[in-house]
């Protein structure tokens, strides 16, 4: 008998190997030092910016290797890290705060490869250096705010409709309304029914009580929104840090992962990311006396607040507006060049502001800045307990009925205006966050890890190749060819799969795969040897060796694949990297060790009719 593969099988194998090889190719071109320019919220990268960047670099005497403009970003490639730093400094001072200028490494992949989607392996933080944060969002705080807003809203509505109530209070996530008599009860029911989305109205006519119950759906949406808003805000804050390829994504119910490659100054990163705050606009209570309140006689419906920079002020309990309606806040100057803070609100915020200010022109309105500072305590559920620290940062007189856009004047110096604007923007974060996990890898350790990993892969590889060549001779060489192909395929597929990053344990996974990938060939070759000993002809021995070994190899690999999948499912970060590498390695090694070696063996020996001996 002869061992031959049909042409199509050979072609498929060749195609698969070439395909993976093609996508592994970008990894040999390395990376250029680069500076990446993108816009913050208020800026925009245009062709003008491109011209500006080019002129700046020319003036600074920097000859870039290339300047690219795509997807609203500019990428400047330079020769050395010195030039990279110099270019960044120049561009930062030239472009100002509306742009993010970040240091980056840009793959030097040739255009033709780039255009078919070829890119080098993405390295994990443990290999390229950087910070990994896991942050927890305090959902309870978001809910407290919603409950407050709800109570205010119900009270306002009833007052507008001239319905007198005994009490409107929160109870858990629900709002309980108690009326004085059946008549009020009836009008309250009709005025509240179908007014509040996300709440079910439950009535109890015997006690003149109405309960607005928060629906589960609404609760879920609230959680999702709190996370989304935090992610958006974190993105904007990360922009301030100037990071090239940040990862900010949700993990689980109430956590957010932030990965900042290349960031070294973790203290600053934490300060910027972790500064949780919110804002409220409230009316000043001008009817009651501040001195009385300070003496302990705080009137009902009002509260005493500390002013930033000393002093106290009496404010009404009613919240006009919370910080989550703020879309933007920036410093501007009026006609006489005095600084002011311009604020824009979303449409709902604009409506609230109009409603609240309509009858109150001439009244003072205060801006309360609320920070959440982590305390030593933990709540019953084991989450961190935040202390709420409230401070009035500005009191201004309402000059007209306000809408979505208004300004606060008389804020003092330009620096103070700047601070207020910053606080207003920061206050848009509705649910506070806390870092619950941090992993920072310095650049030197990252580079060392890459070196160590590569050394291990190469050395392990050489040893296995030597062993196989000596032990199985020519067949061993075929297995070695398969092993090399396997390595190329792992790299090619990992480069191709989005989200697959190479980590240190991932490199260990590759080394391990090298050790284990020969297993399939060992099983096959041992089988062939057995068949030869049993007296079969070489061609028969080859055929039967592969045949008998197949189900064993498949079973063995499928179980390993199961463990890899479980690792992927429960693992985080670098462990996931290991699982991905292992899983890809198992699949590619089965392909190269079974189909790949068979194709080569068939081509080399399968056509010889008078084959009497095998070099195995």
């Amino acid at each position: 008998m002869l061992n031959r593969y049909p042409l199509w099988k050979n072609l498929v194998i060749m195609f698969v190997v070439l395909f993976a090889g093609l996508y592994a190719l970008p990894n040999i071109y390395g990376e250029d030092y680069a500076v990446q320019i993108s816009a913050t919220r208020s800026g925009e990268v245009t062709l003008d910016t491109l011209g500006q960047v080019e002129r700046t670099l020319e003036r600074g005497g920097i000859q870039p290797i290339g300047v690219e403009y795509a997807d609203g970003q500019i990428l400047v490639r330079v020769d050395s890290d010195d030039e990279q730093l110099a270019a960044r400094e120049m561009l930062v001072s030239e472009l100002g705060i509306n742009y993010v200028v970040a240091l980056n490494l840009a793959p030097a992949t040739p255009n033709w490869l780039d255009s078919i989607g070829g890119e080098p392996l993405k390295l994990g933080l443990d290999l390229r250096g950087g910070v990994h944060f896991l942050m927890e969002v305090d959902m309870e705080e978001a809910l407290v705010k919603i409950r407050d807003q709800m109570v205010t809203s119900v009270r306002d509505r009833l007052r507008d409709e001239r319905v007198r109530y005994r009490r409107v209070e929160e109870s858990g996530n629900d709002v309980v309304i108690e009326l004085r008599n059946a008549e009020d009860y009836q009008s309250a029911v009709s005025s509240l029914r179908n007014q509040y989305e996300g709440y079910d109205v439950r009535t109890d006519s015997s006690q003149n009580m109405i309960t607005l119950e928060m629906t589960d759906q609404f609760l879920q949406d609230t959680r999702a929104n709190a996370i989304d808003q935090n992610i958006t805000i974190l993105r904007n804050r990360v922009d301030e840090l100037g990071v090239a390829e940040p990862v900010i994504q949700r993990q689980g119910q109430d956590r957010i992962v932030v990965e900042l490659p290349g960031i070294q100054d973790t203290a600053r990163a934490k300060e910027i990311l972790g500064a949780t705050a919110t804002l409220e606009f409230r009316f000043q209570d001008t009817e009651n006396d501040l001195q009385d309140a300070m003496a302990g006689r705080v009137p009902f419906g009002s509260r005493l607040y500390d002013m930033r920079g000393g002093g106290q002020v009496l404010l009404q309990n009613r919240i006009i507006l919370t910080g989550d309606h703020i879309v933007d806040a920036s410093v501007g100057y009026d006609e006489s060049n005095r600084p002011q803070v311009n604020i824009s609100l979303d449409s709902a915020g604009g409506r609230l502001m109009t409603q609240a200010t309509r009858g109150n022109v001439g009244e003072p309105m205060a801006t309360v800045f609320i920070e959440f500072i982590a305390t030593d305590e933990r709540t019953d559920e084991g989450t961190i307990d935040f202390e709420r620290v409230e401070e009035v940062v500005s009191v201004a007189t309402i000059q007209a009925v306000l809408g979505s856009n208004f300004r606060i004047t008389g804020v003092g110096s330009a620096q103070e205006a700047q601070n207020l604007a910053l606080l207003l923007r920061a206050g848009a974060l509705i649910a506070p966050i806390q870092i619950v996990e941090e992993r920072t890898v310095g650049p030197s350790l990252g580079a060392e890890n890459v070196k160590a990993g590569l050394t291990a892969i190469v050395a392990g590889f050489v040893l296995v190749l030597l062993f196989m060549g000596i032990y199985y001779r020519k067949f061993g060489m075929v297995a070695n060819l398969a092993l090399l192909t396997n390595l190329v395929m792992i790299i090619g597929i990992m480069s191709l799969v989005p989200g697959a990053t190479l980590t240190m344990p991932g490199m260990a996974g590759i080394v391990l795969t090298v050790g284990m990938a020969v297993d399939a060939n060992v099983i096959i070759f041992e089988r062939i040897r057995e068949e030869l000993i049993e007296g079969r002809s070489p061609q028969q021995a080859i055929a039967r060796g592969y045949e008998n070994a197949f189900s064993t190899i498949a079973d063995a690999n499928i179980t390993t694949l199961i463990t890899a999948l479980i690792l992927f499912a429960v693992g985080t970060g670098s462990i996931k990297g290991f699982a991905v590498t292992l899983a890809i390695g198992i699949v590619t090694s089965m392909f190269t060790a079974i189909a790949g070696t068979r194709a080569v063996i068939n081509l080399a020996w399968g056509r010889q009719k008078r084959l009497t001996k095998l070099s195995i």
């Binding site: 920072t440 291990a456 260990a508 020969v518 197949f550 064993t552 179980t559 463990t563 693992g571």
Partner: protein, 317 residues
């Protein structure tokens, strides 16, 4: 052609004749491991306990005693200071503190070091794991192990037979216990990478036992005159060469990882090397002994779809 073992159906190596001794050995080793686990406990790493870890590189070999004094004087009396890899690399560990502001400990520690130590320090690594997260990671890790073992039990029962499946999983349990025992005895840190290594060991060791189980099944069907003990001896002899070659190549690369892979991979490589050795032992002796003890017979391994499998193979090859 040279070979580690000669395959001879009529004169196989008598593995099962010494199974009394290997059983005693297994029991002793397991008891020792469990004893060490009970007495010494495991040295849980940061991933599971929570806390802060800072790795810094100094320009000159670091004076650990001086470092400790500096740290003690700056409210870091609970810090554990040790060399890591070289004399210039120092690892400082702070146990989890019971205040929520613990996420800044790493930065505070670095400030103290920077202002008190002459010459520049290079921040190599900072890790902080909140106690909550640590607990979750430990839970997830334990769950992963359990799920892996159960999935494997189901798959192997489905593909082979319950006795083989049960013995395979029992072997895995032995592997895991012995490795953890060693880690407890040597007080090596058990962190997430060790967990990954344990799962990889499970995969590897299973690989071994499936190759053996496959051969046992095949031989039970083929060799109708031999006793179960003889069939197992023959199967083990036939697969011994493969078992040793694969273990050897894997050990080769693991040794390379141990020596060249850097500190972060060292524990991983140790756990896996140990796993390869123990796994080889358990797939040759422990599992076969268990299969025999559970009274496996030819009838148990005679599923109806033998021929069908042969056909499938042709299609794949």
């Amino acid at each position: 052609m040279f070979q580690i073992t000669k395959i001879d159906e009529n004169n196989p190596l008598k593995f099962m004749s010494i199974n009394k001794w290997t059983t005693i050995l297994s029991v002793v080793l397991i008891l020792l491991s469990l004893g060490s686990l009970a007495v010494n406990k495991l040295n849980w790493g940061l991933d599971f306990t929570g806390g802060t870890l800072v790795e810094v590189g100094f320009e000159q070999p670091a004076d650990l005693a001086e470092l400790r004094t500096v740290l003690e004087g700056n409210e870091f009396g609970d810090a554990v200071v040790q060399n890591y890899g070289t004399q210039r690399d120092v690892l400082v560990r702070i146990p989890p503190r019971d205040d929520a502001a613990s996420d800044t400990i790493g930065n505070e520690l670095l400030e103290v070091l920077q202002s008190n130590i002459d010459g520049g320090i290079d921040v190599r690594r900072v890790e902080f794991v909140g106690p909550q997260v640590g607990e979750e990671l430990a839970e997830a890790g334990g769950l992963a192990m359990l799920v892996a073992l159960i999935c494997i039990l189901v798959y192997v029962s489905f593909r082979f037979e319950w006795r083989l499946a049960l013995s395979a999983v029992a072997g895995l349990a032995q592997d895991v216990i012995l490795i953890l025992g060693l880690f407890s005895l040597l007080q090596m840190q058990v962190d997430l990478t060790i967990l990954a290594a344990l799962l990889a060991v499970i995969g590897y060791s299973l690989n071994d036992s499936i190759v053996v189980a496959d051969r046992i099944r095949e031989n039970f069907r083929k060799l109708r005159k031999n006793t179960p003990e003889e069939v197992i001896d023959i199967s083990l002899s036939q697969t011994l060469s493969r078992t040793l070659v694969t273990s050897l190549t894997t050990l080769l690369v693991l040794l390379v990882l141990m020596f060249f892979g850097g500190q972060m991979i060292f524990g991983f490589a140790v756990a896996l090397s140990m796993g390869v050795i123990v796994g080889t032992y358990s797939s040759v002796f422990t599992r076969s002994t268990l299969v025999l003890a559970m009274g496996i017979s030819r009838d148990d391994l005679m599923p109806p779809e033998i021929e069908k499998e042969g056909e499938e193979q042709d299609n794949y090859l």
